[in-house]
């Protein structure tokens, strides 16, 4: 069972409330109780939730109900805006020094937060932007941590500097910095060992590294699945070592990642990146608006759209869009769409980013279906592919025979095609508006609006 989304809860509470012009205290109070629950279930820190609820309540009482929204929808919009605000409003970017100087980034965090993997991913990102990156292996404690960094660095073509485990991390950092300067690297990323925030010696070590080399950014890496303790961890690292920014890892699947909100709230430092998956290319810029939507259970439609735009073959997509505008989504378009969905991580990858799909086990969908549908479409004539209306029982029989499937499969495929047709139209509408506002009041999924 996935958590019931805030949206669904609100639907139940506010069904009877219509036609009010202003939010009264009672509405807000009821709504905020649900907000509090949702935030706690998303692992936002208790104290952060308390403050947030108090402040947002004050803002919401007496606020005008937005046109075309119900009181409940208005509250959730205010909540969403406040959450975004709390997380820094816009995406933050590291300011790098000019190419001829070395920007030094130091990773810090608890054991298992994903520092080593993230350090390599970060190196990969800057390398792809044309920077010369050097990774420094300063975790001399965990067995094979250096091997891990080397392997990941190799995969991404980023050079790794290491001196084994017999030398102090401070010395390694110093030597790495010297090498970075003399060999004209522009970014040095120092991977450090995971440590407990209450381990004074280990915290001192980070301070020593900072004192020995000129660290520009100390980035605290936090596992998105962290519970209430995230705040304590972030506070301790900030106080003892000094933190310039945050990276949230493992923010994929059904992780709500309330910890991100908590650490942002207590440190006041920007979240620069979010790790969205296991692959080395899955480190992405952190967008406060998407995170807000995720925490309150609206899925991540914007991420989906962006991912689609990145992976999709623009020329082919143009054609599909053109067809959509004329309302003639064809089997050829369907085929193109399927190929592109495959590139986006398959149907489960896409569904996991959509709201209302939390309770839906995307893995139930057999990926081999893709292949089967492909072979069915390829068994159609050109005319049939271009004009879906031609489909008839005899044609279906022929397609089934041609693709080695049976008529029921073909019928199912036709149905899926029609669903896709609808879905694509809606996606298209969203993209045009470029924001979620176009979704308000729309019946996208399960016949309900998103709010």
């Amino acid at each position: 069972m996935a958590f019931e989304s805030l949206t669904e809860r609100f639907q139940n509470i506010f069904n009877n409330l219509r036609g009010k012009a202003k939010l009264d205290a009672e509405d807000v109070h009821t709504a905020m109780k649900e907000v509090k629950l949702a935030l706690l279930e998303a692992d936002v820190n208790f104290k952060v939730v308390k403050d947030f609820v108090k402040e947002t309540k004050a803002k919401a009482i007496g606020a005008e109900v937005f046109e075309s929204l119900s009181p409940g929808q208005t509250v959730i919009r205010i909540v969403r805006d406040e959450l975004i605000h709390l997380m820094g409003d816009t995406a933050a970017e590291l300011e790098l020094k000019p190419q001829n100087q070395v920007t030094v980034i130091m990773m810090a965090g608890l054991q298992g937060a994903g520092k080593t993997t993230t350090a390599a991913k970060l190196g990969g990102i800057y390398k792809s932007k044309g920077r010369r990156v050097l990774l420094a292996a300063c975790d001399v404690y965990r067995p094979a941590a250096i091997d891990q960094l080397k392997t990941n660095g190799e995969k991404l073509g980023v050079e790794v500097f290491s001196m084994g485990t017999g030398i102090s991390p401070v010395e390694i950092a110093k030597s790495a910095y010297d090498k970075a300067v003399s060999d004209k690297y522009s970014i040095l990323i120092i991977d450090t060992a995971g440590r407990l925030h209450i381990d004074e010696n280990m915290m001192q070590e980070l301070k020593d590294i900072k004192a020995a080399v000129n660290v520009d950014y100390t980035l605290l890496t936090v596992d998105a699945m962290t519970g209430q303790d995230a705040v304590t961890v972030a506070e301790e690292f900030s106080e003892k070592v000094g933190v310039d920014g945050l990276i949230v890892t493992k923010l994929d699947g059904d992780t709500k990642g309330g910890a991100a909100l908590s650490i942002r709230a207590v440190t006041g430092k920007p979240i620069y990146f979010a790790g969205m998956g296991e692959k080395l290319t899955d480190l992405q810029v952190f967008y406060p608006d998407r995170m807000a939507s995720r925490i309150i259970g609206m899925g991540d439609i914007l991420s989906l759209i962006e991912k689609a735009e990145e992976t999709v073959d623009l020329e082919k997509q143009k054609k599909v869009t053109e067809h959509l505008r004329k309302s003639q989504f064809t089997y050829d378009d369907f085929l193109t769409q399927m190929e592109q969905m495959k590139k986006m991580g398959g149907i489960s990858g896409i569904l996991s980013m959509l709201p209302g799909m939390k309770g839906f086990d995307a893995d139930q969908i057999d990926q081999s279906q893709f292949t089967r549908i492909e072979s069915m479409i390829l068994s159609m004539t050109r005319e049939e592919r271009a004009n879906p209306k031609l489909m008839s029982p005899s044609r279906k029989r022929r397609i089934a025979a041609g693709s080695g499937t049976d008529i029921a499969d073909v019928n199912r495929m036709v149905k899926q095609f029609e669903q896709m047709q609808k879905f694509m139209k809606q996606m298209n509408g969203m993209k045009k508006h470029g924001n979620l506002n176009s979704l308000f009041g729309r019946n996208l999924f399960r016949g309900k609006g998103l709010f």
Binding site: L110, P143, Q148, N152, D199, M225, D229, E236
Partner: protein, 306 residues
């Protein structure tokens, strides 16, 4: 040194704002009223017990307070510790595998401390006089094989591995042969940190499970699910997913030496029948300890007396 002492030692090293908060709960309240319960709720939520389980606990305690006319806050605390300890305690045969022929499959998501826990477990079993084989079936994460190898060397265990990226089931297959031929006592298999929502990786796990069932039908099987004490409500979906593929027989709760309370295991125990068997309280081999539910509960309410 017990885990609670260790924890206290850890806490005295640092600022103890949360701890102080807990101390005052039973100090400041002279009667059991709404304020008291509100504070109790806060403590449980801050310990990651979660809303649902917290609500259940609070209403149960309110009922008891009414029925048994409990007036002293301290008594409520004792009753609560008693009830929950009973609910989360490991069963009597929880540790029997250590004296039998057994295979232990260790599962869990990325970064919870699977490999380290295996290392500590192997050290303990070796000290216990057992012959141990370690199988490096995490062929996915870079460096995982090398990391386990270090622990195999430290503990003097036999070690089976293939190259990175190879089929984990094949590693297990080979390890079973070595386990048999060397007449070892315990086979421990490391697995990749499968994020529970990635189906392919979960399938890999069922495949390993099937091989174990087939090739070692008469050997006791344990599946230890490793959970990170700092994890919040997501731990519940982790458990749910692993239950659906490999029926864990016990939980290893790691990283209890930080400031996280690990209260999520209370929520887990009310939904699943999987006992916590071990906790990890540090980096040293002896820092893997049997789970003591009362100590665990006392740590949640951390009070200096006792």
């Amino acid at each position: 040194m017990g885990f609670f002492d260790k924890l206290k030692e850890g806490l005295t090293k640092t600022r103890t704002n949360i701890t102080n908060g807990l101390d005052t709960l039973f100090g400041d309240y002279s009667q059991v009223d709404d304020d008291f319960f509100e504070n109790l709720e806060e403590i449980l939520i801050m310990a990651d017990v979660g809303m649902k389980a917290t609500d259940a606990i609070i209403s149960k305690m309110k009922e008891r307070v009414r029925e048994e006319h409990i007036k002293e806050p301290d008594k409520v605390k004792e009753a609560l510790i008693e009830t929950i300890s009973e609910q989360i305690k490991p069963c009597d045969d929880a540790y029997d595998f250590a004296d039998q022929k057994a295979v232990v499959l260790v599962v869990g998501v990325n970064g919870v401390g699977k490999t380290t826990s295996i290392g500590k477990l192997a050290m303990g079993l070796k000290e216990h006089g057992k012959r141990v084989v370690l199988a490096a079936a995490d062929t996915f994460r870079a460096g995982a094989i090398e990391q386990l190898k270090v622990w195999a060397d430290r503990s003097g265990s036999d070690f089976v591995a293939q190259e990175e990226g190879s089929d984990p089931a094949a590693v297990v297959y080979e390890a079973i042969d070595i386990y048999n031929s060397r007449n070892a006592d315990i086979l421990i298999c490391d697995t990749a940190g499968r994020l529970h929502n990635k189906k392919n990786l979960m399938e890999e796990l069922s495949k390993i499970n099937r091989i174990l069932e087939r090739k070692l039908p008469d050997v006791r099987k344990e599946v230890f699910l490793v959970l990170d004490a700092t994890t919040g409500q997501n731990a519940i979906s982790q458990v749910r997913e692993f239950v659906s593929v490999c029926r864990p027989t016990g939980i290893i709760l790691t990283k209890m030496d930080g400031s996280a309370k690990g209260g999520i295991v209370i929520a887990i125990s009310s939904e699943f029948d999987i006992p916590v068997k071990y906790i990890g309280v540090g980096e040293h081999p002896e820092d893997l300890q049997k789970f003591d539910p009362k100590e665990f509960m006392r740590a949640i309410f951390y009070a200096d007396k006792d």
